[in-house]
Symmetry: C2
Subunit: 359 residues, 2 copies
DNA sequence: TTGTAAGCGTTATCAC
DNA sequence: GTGATAACGCTTACAA
């Protein structure tokens, strides 16, 4: 009785309650019911094909009967795997993110993973904290428009699979929307409408994407013989756009791109509040094509981002790295697309060139 | 060498990697560095005050030096606690949720908890699955506008603290916005503007809140001598609002409430597209005051919900139940408030009564 | 106040 | 193919 060698391990007492107040069933319960060893149950339930067909079904039946659910923590302890992916966004209030979130979320549950969401509220510091915390409990991480430094991101990526959205970092997987296509179309359109001076209301200084957008606008403008200037700015919100209105009016530009739709909407409304007519006096364009960008009067012209795809492919990358190891860190080109609505029109300063669209 | 009695437990090999590829430090490392027993480290780090001040600081220093981070899974295993709260929303794309999400999220991190978000995409089935899954890994759950049956919710609540938002379920904690105040103000205003027939474009059939809104509109209308009718509807989205346009035009109502702002916007735009003037021909009101509801022309009049507070107090409740046990299931009255904008005006059918607002 | 040791529910490595 | 058994990293009686 006191000699324990070869005895059945004592039945551990579960910590989780069930509906009726009972303890949650464990693989020990299944083992008992199916008349096999707990380790066999574990094999049957987690590594298919390593157990005889007969016992496999016996075990599955028992599990079903007991309404068994694996204990994620117990599983995570020896394996380190949680079937959970983290996603950090800078501002959950920005509608641009919710398609990214939904994309990543549905892609995750399709592969039987769970998405964990965190918000950094536009702060690099908070973002690093959130990322570190998350990294401890997830299998991989997606950083959407991160404000972190390259070094911090690389550091995070050295621990677990990390994929960044709308940014590139050396040696780190990334998914970006291509900018080029949409901007080229937009500039072509604006030039045809007689615009010669373009302004860009920038987003946050540390935003890779804001930089990128400005650079391609600048490059494309030069190439087309248009002049382009930046209006420095602050927060990428409706309010941020409002605050850029004065600077925009002081410049020469007749057409202005904003870092994102939120800013474009803010700029437009502030200008309108001051009696400025859009698009007669200024043409305004945003980026992303968020919810609500077509609610305004005039509805906003914008360069549409493949938000949903950004989310799904980012998640796909994380999972890929997870089981194939560090990948090629490809940078897929997800196309942007010009969506012409009412906030763009002919330049007030110059006659439209050949091929201009009708008013 | 082979006799193990009384020997120091063998150092377990960690499973998590660190920056340089090293293993993550455990309490064993700290113990070694501080010259104490691992259990003392555990006490020092998790139950403050149960260790001498001197060893406490020695341990904290060691922890800091090693850059120690608790392993959440290892901790969760014996305790069952994860310091994580789940939040399930029906549609992450609905801006009404993001203030709830942010409210709950900030309240959570303020108390050093993490919020885990899931979406049910308006499906009761998916919602139950998501809720069950979540419940296994979180300490408590918040259900925002759940589509679940009362029975399902009670069943979930019997396992761990559950709080519902904008709904009541017997014996389950709940937080709702009061409807009454906002609706009363709105109806008073409409009556003063000469409106006599009111319509309500309903939300999803299973939505408790849609029911509630209709009931108070009906009751208040009767009380004021106005007639009120429902327009049945489907999805609580912009599109759902659009589809209600025909039915609205066929009725006698001159003022129409919609279950939420999304539907109100859809209805308004569809009507406008058909050449109907808002507010001259119809007055339109939404509920919630979401992002974008002031972008429209005319801007939407709406009954504002305390979204952020809904989120924070719901989270507060969960935490309260968590450490004080099942609470009184109070139903806090979070006030709604009428926000008058341009989508409401005098009735086209009747002269405004005394005290009508100016156009 | 601190050390000892037994779990928590899995997975993984052995034997057989 | 299946059964023992030792981790995984932490908490928590119980002793000392």
């Amino acid at each position: 009785m006191s000699e324990s060698t070869g005895m059945q391990a004592p039945r551990p007492r579960s910590t989780r309650r069930m509906a009726g107040g009972k303890q949650a069933p464990t693989i020990y319960d299944i083992a008992e019911l199916a008349g096999v060893n707990p380790s066999t149950v574990s094999r049957a339930l987690s590594t298919p094909g390593r157990v005889s067909a007969k016992t496999q079904t016996r075990i599955e039946d028992a599990a079903r009967k007991l309404n068994y659910q694996v204990n994620a923590f117990a599983r995570a302890l020896p394996t380190g795997r949680t079937r959970t992916i983290g996603l950090i966004v800078s501002d959950i209030t920005n509608p641009a993110y919710f398609d990214i979130i939904r994309g990543a979320g549905t892609a995750a549950s399709a592969r039987d993973y769970t998405l964990m969401l965190a918000e950094s509220t536009e702060s690099a510091e908070l973002e690093l904290t959130a990322a570190r915390r998350m990294l401890a409990t997830v299998d991989g991480l997606i950083l959407a428009s991160p404000r972190l430094s390259d070094a911090d991101i690389s550091q995070l990526a050295s621990q677990k699979p990390v994929v960044v959205i709308n940014r590139t970092v050396d040696g780190v997987g990334s998914v970006v929307a291509d900018t080029e296509a949409g901007v080229a179309d937009a500039l072509r359109h604006l030039a045809a409408m007689g615009h010669r001076h373009i302004a860009y209301v920038a987003g946050p200084e540390r935003s890779w994407m804001s930089q990128r957008r400005w650079e391609t606008i600048k490059a494309r403008s030069d190439w087309s013989g248009l002049s382009a200037t930046v209006v420095a700015s602050g927060v990428p919100t409706v309010d941020g756009g409002r605050r850029a209105a004065a600077a925009v009016r002081e410049g020469f530009a007749t057409a202005v791109f904003c870092y994102n739709d939120l800013m474009a909407i803010g700029l437009m409304r502030e200008l309108q509040a001051a009696g400025v007519n859009i698009p007669d006096e200024f043409s305004i364009l945003g980026f992303d094509n968020i919810f609500g960008s077509d609610f305004t009067t005039p509805p906003l012209s914008t360069i549409k981002s493949p938000l949903h795809e950004l989310g799904t492919t980012a998640l796909g990358y994380v999972l890929e790295e997870l089981d194939k190891g560090p990948g090629p860190h490809r940078l897929p080109v997800l196309r942007t697309e010009l969506v012409l609505r009412g906030s763009t029109g002919p330049s007030p300063r110059q006659a439209p060139g050949p091929g201009a669209a009708t008013a």
